[in-house]
């Protein structure tokens, strides 16, 4: 490690200052992260591909050649979720079906930060096609949570979240369709934000559910989140659903919440939140009041229908989006086929993993003749009700808060046999995707040695309000714990006791 640089604690804000003041070189900074990858990546497996050579070479170029022409984020080591295409760098989307796909173009969000001269460290692991809540659906093996290697990092942006938590990247880009940035951020103890739908171009983001997908940052602090977000937002002619924000993303400085009204939806707090998570949530709500804001109970009465509606809409869109993977133009092609139809069927049957097949099947079933109105048509109407719930609530309050995930990180393999129990992980995060709203998760403490996430949701295009509030709250929470890379299975073996899910008590903060 370069003297004085601790990759588990360094923020982008501080790294940028050190670079600007000439206290460190970009090559030293990148080496710090590559060294950390060398130390912990075999335990964590946050990356599908580490582009170490290119990263080191590029950082050296920044030091030698750029000088005054350095971009706004020059030299900051970054992980990119592997569902964003990167020209000349293999992109897998966590799937076997893309083979060793070499994209001929780069996603707009990535192109923008490349233009700011970030250093890409590699492509982060994810659930195949971003479908999952644990990163266990990756065709390249699961990512392990750096806080406890026997648990999942959440998903689908589990690689991005674990890389930031483990000090294997300064920050990362992820994508969020039903919680895929916020839930892994919560489970890994980092900050994760899903912007308003349309704020960030989806061009080059391999499509899962186009009306829900949104790219966003995973970072160590709220300030860093704003720093990265402000460089990726904006209208893009290549994505007709992208829009210009009403104003620039501001770098947050707020320390107080005076005059703000926060809503606590009774339906979220009732929804099977585990006691340790609920305790941290309630402590954080008390801090909000100490900072000068008022908290009131509100109702989002259709919350219980959001999850079932999501599991019609997202798979329906996915079944159409994933039709393009047919073994003709790119990726894997089965050798076990005598004619064209057999080639399609064998390629897709062999190339997609079980969860992707399930979603394609649910989606196609919900769209098929005789069921379209009963499923897809009705789900779209539920989506209207979920939106209206938020509209009504935001007439009374400025922001809404909830736990990000009902539980802390769960054990690897503990939910894979039951898809529905896995889907429940996203019960607090899915509604804002249906409504297109922005939301952020920040760490608010530990429960059972594992991080707990606190979610703040806002009206459309309220990013600056959200970031300011999250920044003030982050300061009051003062979360300073870092992961230990322990494996509670080993600890349990040594003590001759049970694994972490049944170990009670323990110090908490």
């Amino acid at each position: 490690m370069t003297a004085g640089l601790d990759p588990l604690r360094l923020t982008a804000r501080e790294a940028r200052r050190l670079l600007t003041d000439g206290e460190i070189a970009a090559s030293e900074l990148t080496k710090t992260y590559l060294d950390q990858i060398g130390r912990v990546e075999d335990k964590v497996h946050a990356f599908i591909l580490v582009t170490a050579e290119n990263a080191a070479k590029y950082a050296t170029e920044i030091d030698r050649e750029m000088g005054a022409t350095r971009g706004a984020l020059a030299g900051l080591p970054t992980a990119i979720k592997d569902n964003m295409v990167t020209e000349g760098v293999t992109t897998t989307c966590g799937s076997k079906i893309l083979g060793s796909y070499q994209p001929p173009y780069t996603a707009t969000a990535v192109r923008r930060i490349w233009g700011d001269h970030v250093v890409m460290l590699g492509k982060a692991n994810l659930d195949e096609f971003a479908m999952g809540s644990s990163t266990e659906n990756s065709a390249f093996g699961p990512t392990h949570n750096p806080w406890d290697l026997s648990t999942v990092p959440g998903g689908s942006s589990g690689g991005s979240a674990a890389a930031v938590a483990a000090g294997e990247a300064l920050w990362a880009l992820g994508s969020d369709t039903g919680g895929s940035i916020r839930q892994p951020a919560a489970l890994c103890g980092v900050v994760g934000m899903k912007p308003t739908y349309g704020a960030v171009s989806r061009y080059g983001l391999i499509a899962f559910a186009s009306s829900l997908d949104q790219i966003g940052p995973l970072t160590r602090t709220v300030y860093d989140c704003a720093l990265l977000l402000r460089r990726i937002v904006g209208r893009d002619p290549c994505d007709s659903t992208s829009v210009a924000l009403p104003g620039e993303i501001e770098l947050p400085a707020a320390e107080r919440l005076d005059g703000l009204r926060f809503g606590i939806p009774t339906e979220y707090v009732a929804a099977g939140i585990e006691p340790g998570v609920l305790a941290r949530f309630e402590q954080t709500v008390a801090l909000i009041e100490e900072l000068g804001a008022t908290c009131v109970e509100i109702s989002l009465p259709h919350t219980q229908y959001a999850l079932p509606a999501y599991y019609i809409i997202a798979p329906a869109e996915a079944s159409a989006n994933l039709a393009r993977f047919d073994g003709v133009r790119y990726g894997y092609r089965s050798a076990h086929a005598a004619d064209l139809t057999e080639m399609y069927e064998a390629t897709r049957g062999e190339g997609f993993g079980p969860e992707v097949k399930r979603r394609i099947m649910i989606g196609a079933y919900a769209l098929s003749s005789g069921y379209y109105e009963a499923y897809y048509g009705q789900a779209q109407k539920v989506r209207t009700l979920v939106r209206r719930d938020f509209d009504t609530a935001f007439a009374q309050v400025d922001l809404i808060v909830s736990p990000t995930s009902p539980t802390v990180a769960f054990g690897l393999g503990s939910r894979t046999a039951d898809p529905l129990s896995m889907y429940q992980s996203d019960i607090c995060t899915i509604p804002v995707n249906l409504a297109g709203l922005p939301a952020i998760s920040i760490p608010c403490g530990l429960s059972d040695h594992l991080p707990v996430g606190f979610q703040i949701m806002g009206p459309a295009f309220s990013e600056n309000r959200l970031l300011a509030a999250a920044h003030a709250l982050e300061g009051a929470i003062g979360f300073a714990a870092v992961p230990t890379f322990r494996d509670s299975r080993d600890a349990a073996d040594e003590a001759g006791g049970p694994s972490r899910r049944s170990v009670g008590g323990g110090e908490e903060r």
């Binding site: 001929p104 009306s211 229908y305 079932p308 133009r329 790119y330 196609a364 109407k381």
Partner: protein, 94 residues
């Protein structure tokens, strides 16, 4: 209740080859997921307008100007099989 035949039918529609054991497992899993989804049947939605998309943007157009497209060799570079500057696929009938 979704049947094994329904699952085979949808698998054909989506061009997914499922083995016998996979079809059985899929039938059981989809039944359980659909049972959860059926919860929305509790709601009276007759008077509710559907939401297909959350943004109030419509008719986004760009100038109708020709632009260069992806060069042919770039477009073919990732293909599993190429012949005569085209994507090559197995014949329609064996």
């Amino acid at each position: 209740m979704i049947s094994r035949d329904d699952v085979r039918h949808v698998a054909r529609l989506t061009r997914l080859r499922l083995g016998a054991a996979e079809t059985d497992r899929m039938t059981a899993e989809l039944a359980k997921i659909l049972e959860h989804i059926d919860k929305i049947g509790e709601l009276d939605l007759a008077a509710v307008e559907p939401t297909a998309h959350v943004l109030a943007v419509a008719d986004v157009v760009r100038p109708d100007k020709p632009r260069p497209s992806l060069p042919r060799d770039e477009a073919l570079r990732n293909a599993p099989a190429v012949s005569d500057d085209c994507f090559r696929v197995p014949r329609m009938q064996p």
